[in-house]
Subunit: 123 residues, 2 copies
Amino acid sequence: MSKQRPAVDVEALCCSPLMRRPLSADESTELARMFKALADPVRLRLLSLVASHAGGEACVCDLTGAFDLTGPTISHHLKVLREAGLIDGERRGTWIYYRVRPAALGALATVLTASALPERVDT
Amino acid sequence: MSKQRPAVDVEALCCSPLMRRPLSADESTELARMFKALADPVRLRLLSLVASHAGGEACVCDLTGAFDLTGPTISHHLKVLREAGLIDGERRGTWIYYRVRPAALGALATVLTASALPERVDT
C-alpha cells in the first residue's frame, strides 16, 4: 500500500521555532497539505475517535457507528489522514487498525505554539 | 468591519483533552474551519511572517515583498486568517497592522498534542 510521505520532513522541524522565522515555500506547502487533511469535520472526528479509542487504535468496524456514513466513505477519509502522515494503519486479519502518529501531530502543534509561548529557558 | 467569531468557543476548550474523547460534531466543524484557514501555503507563510516580524505585528506593506502576489491578494488571505480568528488587525493611519492570536493558535495546538503527550501529572 503506497504512502505519500512528505518531501519536506516536517517532523524533523519539531524543534525549530517556525513562527520565529518566516516559513520557506517548501515548508509551507508541506504543512498546508497536512493542515488540509485536518480541515474536514469528519476527519477531525475520526482522528479523535481513533486517538481516544481503547488501546489508541481503531478499525473501520469501530468507527462506523459514530457517523451516518458508509464504511467506504470512512475508509476514504482515513486514507486521506494516512497519506498526510497523521495516522498509521496496520492490517491484522480482516481489518486495518489505525493509530495516530504523535510525532506528526506534535510537529504541527509546535508550528502553532512556537509563536504563542514565551521562549523556553531550560535551567 | 465584521468578524466571524466561532459558534463554539474553541479557545475555551484549550484545557480539554480533546483527543482523549471524541470531538462533537459542532467542535469538529469549528476546528475544521480554523484548520482550513491554515491549509494554504500562502496563508501559512503570511502567518509566520506576521508572527516573526519585529514587534510581532506587520502590515500588508511589510508583507508584499515576500510574495509574487498583489497587495489585494495578500489582503484577501489576511482576511481569511482574521475571520478564522487566527490573527487580529488594528487600523493605525493608512495601514491595518496584524498580529497573531496566541490563544487561538494554542487551542489548535492543544487539540493536536493532547493525544500525543502522556497525561501530565502536576505534583
